[in-house]
């Protein structure tokens, strides 16, 4: 079953059309990586999925719920990591978790999220104001907020930026465990090819607001065994062909 279905999505900023007929699916238990150069619309696509930008046309369904027709039901199934600079500077980390959990209509904070906070060594910062956090600490908090409420679709935009290698590894393993249990699907916009090579089951290249190339699990497996820079060369080739 797909946790995300996007069909013929168009979006624009003013007169500029940024997304031009994007269609993609993220299956439950799958890690989907969205690749592409700067400014091609990756973050815009994620903003549309997060309900931050209304698309001009097309449909987005999250775990079967239409984001346009039933936004509340769709957002209950969504875990969207906001950008670190969007966190409220004048709340503490603990207050952010409380408010976000309330906003997601939860009765309690998930035990595995609390455990992950400990593993990420975020606990000592929980009662400090967000504006005293480093980039990495803010990034950890953004990811924790996205994981609240056991979402069926987790949307991350460059979520590993600023994380130290140990924390990044802890987070990747946590996401992989969730995927292995079939609890969710992950959509990650990234420039980091090592994540694509080691963790992704599917990937797509976005160019000029449209999907230019897709790689399924077999394609990615073939690239993994075709040499150290096979994925890099495949990306370059797809970019030039488009």
């Amino acid at each position: 079953m797909n946790v995300l279905e996007i069909v013929d999505l168009h979006a624009r900023y003013g007169k500029r059309e940024v997304l031009r007929g994007v269609s993609l699916e993220v299956a439950r238990g799958r890690w989907f990586c969205l690749l592409g150069p700067n400014g091609v619309g990756k973050s815009t696509l994620l903003h549309c999925v997060g309900g931050r930008l209304a698309p001009t046309s097309g449909t987005i369904r999250i775990a079967g719920e239409s984001l346009a027709a039933a936004p509340a039901a769709a957002k209950r199934r969504l875990g969207y990591a906001c950008a670190p600079e969007q966190l409220p500077a004048l709340l503490t980390g603990r207050q952010c978790l409380e408010v976000y959990a309330y906003a997601k209509e939860l009765d309690a904070i998930d035990a595995d999220v609390a455990a992950l906070a400990g593993e990420l060594k975020l606990t000592p910062f929980m009662d400090a104001f967000v504006d005293t956090y480093s980039l990495g600490t803010r990034q950890k908090l953004c990811v924790l907020l996205a994981l609240l409420g056991n979402p069926e679709l987790i949307v991350l935009d460059e979520a590993f930026n600023g994380l130290d290698p140990r924390s990044a590894l802890v987070l990747k393993r946590h996401l992989r465990d969730r995927l292995a249990q079939g609890r969710c699907g992950v959509l990650l916009a990234t420039h980091s090819l090592d994540i694509v090579e080691r963790y992704a089951e599917t990937a797509a290249l976005l160019l000029d607001g449209a999907i230019a190339e897709r790689w399924g699990s077999d394609d990615l497996e073939r690239l993994r065994t075709s040499g150290p820079d096979a994925l890099e060369r495949a990306l370059a080739s797809a970019s030039e062909l488009s």
């Binding site: 207050q95 906003a103 997601k104 104001f129």
Partner: protein, 387 residues
């Protein structure tokens, strides 16, 4: 695609040693060129027209003459107040200019260091010039009142200019305050309580406007207000009287800061929580609850103080109701528009100025207008559409 016009040669010649000023001037020219095609021009003109209408309305009712006479009788004090305001402005602008320079995209170029001092001085001087021009325009507008002569208006402007000159010297001589980057906004807000558990709750939202107001009121900003408050205590006032006047200043500034904080925190909270299924009332009421109670308490205390000071109860009631109506208006428009992903600022300014103008014309009309705009923004269905 429309190409912006080339940089005018006179600008390149005049500002070749100040690349950041040149970039700023070109940006301003581009902005002006685009202005007729944007809504900002209409909104800006509407706000300016409403503000002018309020000044003209006050002047036409003969209230300007009284104010001008009072200010001219205490010309030295007026100039001193203006000097303190200008000194604060200069210190703040110097800090902002230095912070902007350190963050500038040109910071790594040799040109950035070459013209840095001159650029800073020019930017500060431009702020002072705008301030003086605004004062002059206000003085001329006051002449609409037949009882105010041009000579009186010019004397008032002269006192303001003298105060501005003194304040500029003072502000330049004072050491520059530390950079904003080294003063986190939350440094002076309340220390958060260490709590053991984490439970889902909207309660932390209610403290956000107050936290923002306290962050704005940190000592390096509040010291000027305290200075003005101290100078406003009349000679011969007893200790209780003096403390009461100081408390009134600080209380009023806190209420104004909380009100100004509402649109800002509403925008930040709405952007942050947009990807959650939170409905409008579950978002708006916790955000506004604490601020509204504080404003209501403040309005009651202010009305009591006014009556104790000799004002008629009806006047005190009118002022209290008008203030509360404006507070409710700002809260409703901010929360509703931010929740829907729209910008509330133009609507807030237009609605608030219209309400003030209406109240100026007919007692109670401004309150009714503000409440009507509030009800319109909170009507069923208006808050369902979320971007």
């Amino acid at each position: 695609m429309n190409n912006p016009p080339a940089i005018p040669p006179f600008l390149t010649r005049a500002l070749r040693r100040q690349p950041s000023l040149l970039a700023g001037a070109v940006g301003a020219l581009n902005f002006m060129g685009r202005l007729p095609r944007t809504r900002s021009a209409i909104v800006g003109l509407s706000i300016a027209a409403l503000a002018a209408a309020i000044v003209l309305s006050v002047a036409a009712r003969g209230q300007a003459a009284w104010a001008v006479r009072l200010l001219l009788e205490r010309g030295e004090l007026f100039a001193l107040g203006w000097a303190i305001y200008t000194a604060a402005l200069v210190v703040r602008r110097r800090r902002e200019v230095a912070a902007a320079a350190s963050r500038s995209w040109l910071v790594a170029t040799p040109a950035a260091t070459r013209g840095r001092a001159a650029t800073g001085a020019l930017l500060v001087a431009a702020s002072l010039l705008w301030q003086l021009l605004a004062a002059l325009a206000l003085a001329l507008l006051l002449c609409v009142d037949a009882a105010v002569t041009l000579e009186q208006a010019m004397r008032l402007a002269a006192w303001a200019a003298a105060g501005a000159g003194l304040g500029a010297l003072l502000g330049t001589a004072l050491p520059r305050a530390p950079d904003a980057e080294r003063n986190p906004a939350s440094r002076y807000t309340r220390r958060p309580r260490a709590e053991r558990g984490v439970t889902p709750s909207a309660a932390p939202l209610s403290g956000w406007p107050a936290a923002q107001a306290l962050a704005w009121s940190r000592p390096e900003n509040a010291r000027w207000l305290v200075l003005v408050a101290i100078l406003s205590v009349p000679t011969g006032a007893g200790a209780i009287g003096g403390v009461s006047i100081l408390a009134t200043w600080l209380g009023a500034s806190y209420l104004v800061a909380t009100l100004a904080a509402l649109p800002r925190v509403a925008r930040e909270a709405a952007a942050w929580l947009r990807s959650t299924p939170l409905d409008f009332w579950a978002f708006a009421w916790p955000m506004a609850r604490s601020a509204l109670w504080q404003q209501a308490a403040g309005a009651v205390v202010a009305a009591i103080v006014m009556v104790a000071a000799g004002a008629s109860p009806l006047d005190a009631l009118e002022l209290g109701c008008l203030w509360l109506a404006l507070v409710v208006l700002v809260a409703a428009v901010s929360l509703a528009d931010c929740y829907r992903g729209q910008s509330p600022l133009a609507k807030i300014w237009l609605s608030a100025l219209s309400a003030l103008l209406a109240e100026q014309r007919v007692r109670g009309l401004g309150v009714a207008l503000a409440l009507a705009v509030t009800a319109w923004h909170l009507r069923p269905g208006a808050t369902n559409e979320r971007a």
